[in-house]
Amino acid sequence: MTEGFQPRRRGGAVATFSGFEADLLRSLASQLIELLRDEAAVPTTEVDPFEALLDFSGPTNEPDDPVLARLFPSAYRDDEEAAGEFRRYTETQLRSGKAATAGALIDTLEEAGLPPQLDEDGLTIDVELDPGQAIAWMKTITDMRLALATRLGIEEGDEELWEQLPDEDPRTQVHDIYDWLAYLQETLVRSMGG
């Protein structure tokens, strides 16, 4: 299992992953990209179909999917109209930004030697991130963790509950991945001086 990230001499961070771990990161990043592109980011409040077709700006309603709702929370708590306007001007940009960042993570893994199909045992992948890439990885790892936490229903101070889950519970494995990502994130932040 990976020891996580270490500081890189010229700034940034380095880590060695097993093929399985690198493949898992790629798979989580692809799922994130798929989700970000899933619900069409189009305005839903437009009445005139002609206007709606000509309107390339973003959506004004909170996404239905709870993961997307967490990734793109309302910017105004008590002002629906202002929240809608904010969303309209930012959500499309935020979505494509997050998708591009997750895509860059996949590119880094593949450039580091992760084959399109993992069928080799004993493969190790050395990843080297410059400071900008390190921050991009932190953002994507955060989005992955937010997604998993929302799907699992993680709440403040519920650690004991997860520890007590039996091994055969499918959530146990997902929670292990969630914890593993926390470990990666912690070592990455520390490598960047945090």
């Binding site: 910017a75 930012t90 935020l94 930004g97 953002k139 936490a149 519920d158 994130q185 912690e186």
Partner: protein, 94 residues
């Protein structure tokens, strides 16, 4: 420069200048080290200040991390969402 403002103009002026603030809320997912790092990285805060604000988020459930014009605060909120932090903006006198 006019010496006197009409009262209504004065009202407009104070309303327009009224500062807004960016609030970061506690969530059960983001690591304390990451939240501190983001505050340092994005706002350029010292580690000490970033940690103080992070602990406010952690213990009080929320912390005001920046204030300024509405436009500036919308930019900060958007940046926080980019980092995966839960942020909102509100009027400073709310």
């Amino acid at each position: 420069m006019p010496v006197e403002y009409e009262e209504s103009q004065l009202d407009d002026l104070t309303a327009a200048d009224r500062p807004w603030q960016t609030v970061v809320w506690n969530d059960p997912v983001n690591l304390m080290s990451y939240v501190t790092f983001v505050f340092q990285q994005y706002f350029g805060f010292s580690r000490r200040k970033a940690e103080k604000l992070m602990l406010e988020v952690h213990h009080d459930g929320r912390s005001i991390v920046s204030s300024g014009s509405r436009e500036e605060m919308e930019r900060d909120v958007q940046a926080m969402h980019e980092y995966g932090l839960w942020a909102t903006l509100e009027r400073a006198d709310d």
